[in-house]
Amino acid sequence: MDTKAKLKQVLVEELNLEDVTPDEIEDDEILFGEGLGLDSLDAVELVVVVQKHFGVEIKDMDEGRPALQSINTLAAFIEEKQG
């Protein structure tokens, strides 16, 4: 499974998004606020989720904020860190 597909799947599972399926999340959909509707608590949970499932650490929110924009940005961040 590629990074984006896996990301969507863990997002739905770990954040308990019962009202969407992984397929329904667009690659460029904004994750926070409008869009998928996640909030600041989801953001810090996502930091843990990314570390757990992809072994990639987001050190702080200065680093996290640009990465957590969309599936596209987060997948790119993960892939870059994984080298």
Partner: protein
């Protein structure tokens, strides 16, 4: 003290959800505990409560981060405000409504789920969502957020004594005119660790049946649920179930409740021999008593369920059948089913020796 009126009830327990289902359980009995296999080595009977009725009020997206504990609380809160016909349409109503939430143990399952996240994967994998939902006031926060309440909020936690502290808090706010009404609720949940404690401390077995007045061996079975009350000042003239006309609380080390001779009492006996001895010592010999804990089990919510039942009985002016009769040697009479009641006092002794007596009367007296 300034009298309060119970103008709305929101209840969820093993008997079901809402006043209709509680009334049915009171009339027909038949509430059975279910078995939880996850409690240590053996399966013990537990009075569990369902929150599926909450889907009537909140959608899945909203509920995704809300645990069973807070769902119970939300269900109680929505039901009580709906039952009390609380009008949310204008902002002052939201500013002038206080929320008092009582819990003996807090969000136990989420507390342990947070520890799971640390123990499964390590300290740096601790779940922030679990942590923030494990804080004792998380349920009150969800209520305030989902109902748009911006008045004062207080979460109180003192095991069996939690609910009476909440009644006192509500009364104080109304008396000080900080609020026009108070949403007072008690909530507690069962979890497997609690089940293990029950087994170890009390020797509960799969065959144990709740005998509230037992003084030989412990027969308390764990319960869970939520009981919420919309309280208003008695003099505001709104309709309601019953009025709270007096309240006493203290500790057996220094005092005891003042209970009139022959007064009809609802007892919070839960099948603990130690507390049963306190009831024996401090109740008048000719008391007429009823105890309903076999409908919802033992938990810090039980005293609040007692109050809900008293409210329903006073509303119709007649006592409900009591599922258990006091042993003959106590000398207490059973408050007989259908007998007329004008006043009722709920008496509760906690394991630690705290007691409370809440005096209630019919609304129109």
């Amino acid at each position: 003290m300034m009298e309060m009126r119970i103008s709305g009830l929101g209840i969820a327990g093993a008997f079901g959800c809402g006043t209709r289902e509680l009334r049915a359980a009171l009339e027909h009995g038949g509430v059975k505990p279910s078995f939880c296999a996850d409690a240590g080595a053996q399966s013990i009977p537990v009075y569990r409560a369902s929150t599926t009725a909450l889907e009537r009020y909140l959608n899945k997206r909203v509920l995704r981060r809300i645990d069973h504990f807070s769902r119970l609380a939300l269900l109680g809160a929505f039901e009580a405000l709906e039952d009390g016909e609380y009008n949310f349409d204008f902002i002052p109503a939201r500013e002038r409504l206080g929320v008092v939430l009582c819990s003996g143990f807090g969000a136990l399952s989420t507390t342990f789920r947070f520890l799971d996240s640390v123990m499964d994967d390590g300290d740096s994998f601790a779940s922030p969502t679990a942590f923030s939902n494990s804080v004792h006031n998380a349920a009150a926060a969800h209520i305030s957020m989902q109902l748009g309440i911006t008045g004062p909020g207080q979460t109180l936690s003192q095991f069996d004594h939690s609910f009476i502290s909440g009644v006192q808090q509500a009364q104080m706010w109304l008396e000080e005119k900080r609020v026009d009404a108070v949403l007072l609720g008690t909530v507690d949940e069962y979890c497997s660790v609690l089940g293990y404690c029950w087994e170890r401390f009390l020797g509960i077995k799969p065959s144990t049946q709740m005998r509230p007045f037992a003084s030989d061996s412990s027969s308390a079975l764990p319960g869970e649920g939520a009981a919420f009350f919309l309280l208003r000042p008695q003099q505001d003239g709104s309709a309601g179930y019953a009025r709270i006309s007096g309240m006493e609380c203290g500790h057996v080390r220094g005092s005891s409740p003042r209970l009139g001779s022959g007064a009809p009492l609802i007892l919070g006996c839960e099948g603990y021999p130690d507390t049963m001895n306190m009831y024996r010592e401090h109740l008048p010999a000719d008391a007429a008593v009823a105890c309903y804990t076999p409908l919802y089990g033992a938990s810090p919510v039980a005293p609040a369920f007692d109050v809900a039942i008293a409210a329903l009985a006073l509303e119709r002016g007649k006592a409900y059948p009591a599922p258990a009769a006091p042993p003959a040697e106590t000398g207490w009479a059973t408050l007989s089913s259908g007998s007329a009641v004008e006043t009722l006092t709920c008496v509760d002794f906690g394991v630690g020796g705290e007691y409370s007596a809440l005096h209630r009367a019919r609304p129109c007296l």
